[in-house]
Symmetry: C2
Subunit: 726 residues, 2 copies
């Protein structure tokens, strides 16, 4: 018997450990197949060696096939592959049931329960070179990865391609964006798998610095729904020192296959034993809400080894930001010139008169943030280099320590400090990661010296090192390097345009949020489809928190009088609901302060809403259609509910059974007005205060492109006087 030892860091509490371990020396027994079931017995995973020693696996959920027999393996460069010729030389099974507490999260405590199968596969013809495949079967899905133990005949190797197959059981409905090595900021297409070829061209609309994959492919997290009612989500967990995976699609057989992001010379991954791939994850259920509730991906990531995490805190912030997107109200750049060098004297540029990040304006924002209880303000465009930062594949684009002549870092820092507000640093790299890395220590030191404790990073543009991709192994390591280095300086990181997350916020909890999808900013650039945010939680957010930048109250951008006819495709209330439906411990109130001052009663929700949670309750959800979530604020008897719908109006069924029984609470309901919708009267809403209990059930109308937001708290008898019970 083998006792499976787990790391016993403080944050892990082994609550139960059902040990049902057995060891089979399979080769001696002639067994070439293995099966395990999930703790709740809903899922079954079968591993089998097929003809020629080809490893395969299949996954079923309540006896319905999820993944039909699919082969596993990797091709190597200048070495024999890990594709076939295997025999099983050892198998191990074990079970784990433990809990752990994330630093920040949707749940105070997360349960990690799975049954594990580890298969050791040897290649006799290559001197018994061997790998392991580790399967972890949870109640809500499967994770598996390849492992390459240290051994005489395997030291350094280069991956030419990973050949993991996902043979789906039918022509599922799929919510997809096209495979791309450099960007995930695409709009979603909803179709049958078989329809992807006909739709791929349209789906691959032009985005800055995209690099679509030649083979027909989609990105992960890939969300699907089968005709027989299964929700299936394929992604990966713990993407470290490995390129991101896309899925090549065979639209006629419904087979998907791993496609890794190449490096500058076409290789996929540089490996040194001991090594392992990220986990390939398949979350599956017959309830869509289970997909959103899944913690499988987080559970497959390693616990953090940070000793002190007390400095990692939720961040609610405003920013000198949205004004750059709406109608050219102001600009990141200070000068009119379009050719500058860091060695230039920027005080000699011709001011364009519209520079956003001035000392004076920063102080106004600080006043607003302080008055309304925000933790921080983001100031973009404070540093020299914005005149020609984009599209030039320029290496020395920013230096991260030199402010424009009209922005006084010390003065702003002192003023913010006196008002109890933090300034959030902004490090746009323009994709020039090498330039960022060589300046990183000085940049972080500068932040420490000037009171910044969080940085928003950006990677707009083609990557330098030239030929590398946003989603390749080198950049994957870069983002992690930045997060780790930031931790040395006690700095939190919110990365934009980075590879999509894979639960690494467990391991690097100061990597507090990411963009890595088509976010709120696109409402100013063509707009987001009304169903976009009903899909994102099933796709992008499966990997981790998103800095979506919600809270746009002024949804009609023609308001600014610059001739723009652009509009945000939501009601105002839907923007409030996002603070609940789009989980992140870092949340922006993205609109311009003046717009919040016009709607102070609705703004109250943003001021009140929590960012860190004891519990989350996925009340109802259907990808592409609607989501309703309730959450309990961490350490407080406060609850918040958010519900959104797509282009269709609907009645949300909101329950309150998560409230302590037998008590009354005051609920403030922010609802779309009856005649509101995302196109007309989007700013019409009602706010009502009512009494709710755990037994309350609310049928709430959501307008087309609308939503609902509710804050719930305890109230004194006096406060409750005159309030109706719902």
């Amino acid at each position: 018997m083998t006792f499976k030892s787990k790391k016993t860091l403080p944050q892990i509490r082994l609550s139960r450990m059902a040990i049902l371990l057995f060891y089979v020396c399979a080769s001696s027994l002639g067994v070439q197949a293995q099966e395990i079931i999930s703790p709740n017995k809903n899922l079954s995973l079968k591993f089998e060696l097929k003809e020629n020693g080809i490893p395969t696996y299949q996954l079923t959920y309540k006896k319905k096939p999820v993944i039909k027999s699919s082969s596993l393996g990797l091709e190597l460069k200048d070495m024999p592959s890990f594709m076939d010729g295997f025999t099983i030389t050892k198998t191990d099974q074990s079970s784990v049931d433990e809990t752990w507490d994330p630093v920040l999260g949707e749940e105070k405590t997360i349960r990690n329960q799975y049954n594990e199968l580890v298969v050791t596969l040897s290649q006799k013809k290559y001197n018994n070179r061997y790998i392991r495949i580790r399967f972890r079967l949870f109640n809500d899905g499967l994770g598996f990865r390849y492992e390459f133990p240290k051994q005489n005949d395997l030291n350094y190797f280069v991956i030419k391609e990973e050949r993991t197959e996902f043979q789906l059981a039918g022509n599922h409905k799929i919510f997809w964006i096209p495979g791309d090595y450099d960007t995930n900021e695409y709009a979603y297409t909803t179709s049958k798998i078989s329809e992807i070829p006909a739709l791929i061209k349209k789906a691959t609309a032009e985005i800055n610095s995209q690099w679509p994959i030649k083979e027909l492919s989609v990105q992960t997290p890939s969300m699907m729904k089968s005709d027989n009612g299964l929700y299936i989500n394929i992604h990966e967990a713990a993407l470290i020192n490995y390129p991101a995976m896309s899925l090549e699609v065979d639209a006629s057989t419904y087979k998907m296959r791993s496609h890794l992001t190449p490096d500058a010379v076409g290789n996929k991954g540089y490996m040194q034993t001991d090594a392992q791939t990220p986990w390939r994850t398949i979350v599956v259920s017959d309830k869509a809400t289970d997909i959103l509730a899944s913690k499988l991906i987080l559970n497959l990531n390693e616990p953090t080894n940070y000793k002190d995490v007390s400095w990692i805190k939720p961040v609610k912030f405003i920013g000198i930001w949205w004004e750059y997107f709406v109608a050219g109200k102001s600009t990141w750049a200070f000068g009119k010139e379009t050719n500058v060098k860091l060695t230039d004297d920027f005080s000699k540029l011709t001011p364009n008169g519209k520079h956003g990040a001035t000392t004076e304006r920063a102080k106004n924002y600080i006043d607003f943030a302080s008055k309304n209880g925000f933790d921080a303000i983001l100031i973009e465009g404070w540093n020299i280099g914005w005149e020609d930062w984009i599209n030039n594949w320029k290496e020395d684009v920013f230096d991260y320590v030199t402010a424009y002549p009209d922005f006084d870092v010390k003065a702003v820092h002192e003023y913010a400090s006196s008002k109890g507000v933090k300034i959030m640093m902004h490090h746009e790299t323009s994709g020039s990661a090498t330039n960022y890395e060589r300046r990183l220590d000085r940049a972080f030191q500068f932040m420490n010296e000037n009171g910044y404790d969080a940085v928003k990073t950006g990677y707009v543009g083609k990557i330098i090192p030239r030929g590398e991709h946003h989603d390749g192994q080198w950049m994957v390591n870069h983002y992690i390097n930045v997060a780790k280095r930031a931790a040395d300086y006690k700095i939190m990181v919110d990365s934009h345009e980075a590879v999509r997350p894979t639960g690494l916020n467990r391991t690097f909890p100061n990597w507090i949020a990411q963009e890595s999808a088509r976010g709120g900013e696109f409402e100013s650039m063509g707009g987001l489809a009304p169903d976009h945010t009903t899909i994102l939680p099933f796709t992008r957010l499966m990997g981790g928190p998103m800095d979506f930048t919600p809270g746009i109250f002024q949804t009609d951008l023609s308001y600014y009088g610059t001739g723009s006819t652009q509009r945000v495709n939501t009601t105002l209330v839907k923007q409030l609901a996002y603070y609940i439906t789009m989980y992140s411990p870092l949340q922006m109130a993205a609109d311009i302060p003046g717009n919040y001052e016009r709607f102070p009663d609705a703004f109250q929700f943003i001021k009140d809403v929590a960012l860190d949670w004891d519990h989350s309750y996925i009340l109802e959800a259907e990808p592409g259609d609607y989501i309703t979530i309730a959450r309990k604020a961490k350490g407080k008897n406060e609850w918040f509910v958010g519900g959104i719908t797509d282009e269709n109006s609907r009645i949300a069924n909101i329950t309150f059974d998560y409230l302590p029984a037998g008590k009354k609470f005051i609920a403030t309901i922010y609802a779309d007005a009856k005649d509101a919708n995302w196109k007309e009267k989007p700013q019409k809403y009602t706010i009502s205060k009512v009494i709710v209990t755990s037994k309350t059930v609310l049928k709430q109308y959501l307008a087309q492109g609308g939503g609902v937001a509710i804050s719930i708290k305890e109230g004194s008898v006096v406060e409750m006087m005159g309030l109706k019970k719902l």
Copy 2:
């Protein structure tokens, strides 16, 4: 009239300025050709626009053609080229005659005298887009470069290839190594230009991480001798933000053409106006000694802008180094393992028992250095990672701050400090420049904290960023970044395996020396040809000081009793002569201390020899055959002479007319014994003390593969008693 303004930094003293400026608005005059002559009138440069507006130039020396009409231009990526369609829209001529003092050098004061022609070339069909070509004609050669001024129609651009031609006038003798993007550590081949195709394969012998250029090509500095007695050297100066140039060779027409080092995606250079190429240099004379005396390349580099250079000093050092090359006496690595990670606990490795850089051995070296007046000792192999540092294209190969368990940085620092000796840092990168850059600040901070003031860097192996080359624009910028960052920490840099130098030690005087050629270490790996070091000063050293690592006394490596039959292909005395013939302000006494203790009288020359000079006198020289040089120590009445020969014995003609007239000096002459040569009795030598005056002429015998070294100083009457006059 235009007065040509020059930077007036303290180190430049305008001693004379003969202004013979005139301005010609060529296009209005219809003039499409321009000619200038050198100040001494020996050289003539003619610029001419040929049919279709193709720019050309030609160079003559004493009416002999050096470069016959050759075209100039560049091809751009995704933009019209700068190859043709030009008209001359402006020409400027000016003259400069000034002097400046290098921080360290062969001369205390350097004269910079040239006549300049600047041609502005416009392309009407591209909206009058224009470039400039700047020619500087010195008494000893030509420098020219392309300049790209800031203008409306030229901002960012990418160079596909530079098309600078050098149409030689005949089938010259050439001393060459094959073109290669990654290494210059080749042995030289001496042949006619026409013979290169037949010899290229043999010349491209296997070297670690080489990347030979597909097209027939040679590297620069390219040294040639014409049948009519001209010595011609083609190289470049001030290689900044641009890839290094090789020369494609047309062996039948004797035309050479620029070939730039590509980046990972095949582009050659990323440019932003204002921009310029490095200078293309042609040093020419009918005397070989003029080539060695030329300061043309240094003069074409920019003065340094370092405010304080007081911390930049010559370094004479020994090192725990040669023992790694001779017969496996000791090793860089501590452990037996061949698969390690920086995250490993290196104290848990299995010691191989032969680790060179231990605290105890360092102290022994410190004792020797202190006793013999060395400034520093280099300790290689002090830091973790050497077990698998090579050939794995591994990124996180070294961390630069963690010592092996048997090397105590603090203790060694304190001991060295107490003995008045510095420890020279060693930063091998294994070609992983990204890893080095991201750790650079911490590495230099570590050096500051532990008393290191100089670092030997190394770039063995394939470059990371993968796909980049040692000689590409990205790495060219990397080396400079390292030098500049080092200057911030007052650290001197001695780079190995970097791009060959182009006089940048003027601009970055803390970049004190480089290897960048087949150096002394190859005496342990096949040996250097006896003529190798008679060629290097005409090639590699044209660009700057070389850390050649001379001073090997134990030339027969079978001495170590490990079965090696390898030998150093010189006499012992030739190794002494290198301290003069191979200029560098940083010089190693490369042999193991025990070998110096066996030859204390010869070792005295190494202890005495200066590293920085008031004046240098090239007494005689012929590339591939012999070199004799005398130098006066900076600020001292001490002179040192070094003479070397190739595989043939010879009589060196050594004059002393640089000594102050009418005074007697004591010369100590280190000479090969009559029966010595590089193969037999290489350690036999004679040392004699004699009186010399400025009128003395010495006919000195040099053995096959031998040399001569002389130290000259003032002496008291007592000291001179009993000494013979030569």
